[in-house]
Symmetry: C2
């Protein structure tokens, strides 16, 4: 998967994984990886700043905890975040249907008929 393709859709993905329950950053990375069959293997340098962006925006809230001597920052969706997710979803639908109109259309006949 091309790296820059995510541009503008990462927030939506993060909100979507958090919709199913609170997770800490590292677990979010793993959730994205497993739920996408390995297609989304995002580096920490992508995830952590994005989560802080979302927190600044009020879409998620975080709480620290210590598990086995390891510091964890667990994020959970806020009500505002749930609203934002709904918006992102409809935005995604519009975007993907618009672009899909140009790109999904016809796979050029790879099966070039004789």
């Amino acid at each position: 998967m091309k790296a820059q393709a995510l541009h503008g859709h990462l927030d939506a993905l993060l909100l979507a994984v958090l919709e199913q329950g609170p997770l800490h950053g590292y677990a979010i990375i793993e959730a994205l990886r497993s739920r996408s069959d390995g297609h989304l293997d995002l580096p920490t340098g992508t995830i952590y700043p994005a989560l802080r962006r979302l927190e600044r925006a009020g879409h998620v809230a975080s709480t620290w905890s210590t598990v086995n001597g390891r510091e964890r920052r667990t994020y959970q969706l806020t009500d505002a975040g749930r609203g934002a997710l709904a918006g992102e979803r409809s935005g995604w639908r519009e975007f993907s249907s618009t672009v899909g109109r140009f790109l999904d259309a016809d796979t050029p006949p790879t099966t070039t008929p004789a």
Copy 2:
């Protein structure tokens, strides 16, 4: 449609509209607008540099002509461009199905029952 959403997919769109035949820049803008029901209304400052990028990459070729005293630069897909388009299409499919797995899933019950 959010502005930055296109990030990384613009080239694919341009190749896709040119797949149906050569067009000049201004006509490409109109084609994108009409074929997307107005959702894609891209400014010249987006299109022209993108077309030059594609030309530098060898995906399109341009020829100048004068129509009614107006200079036109008509772009057409090259063979390499056709190949690139095929790649972009499969990239798009992978991308949209991956993201869609998170976002298309379930429209949260907008029909919040009273």
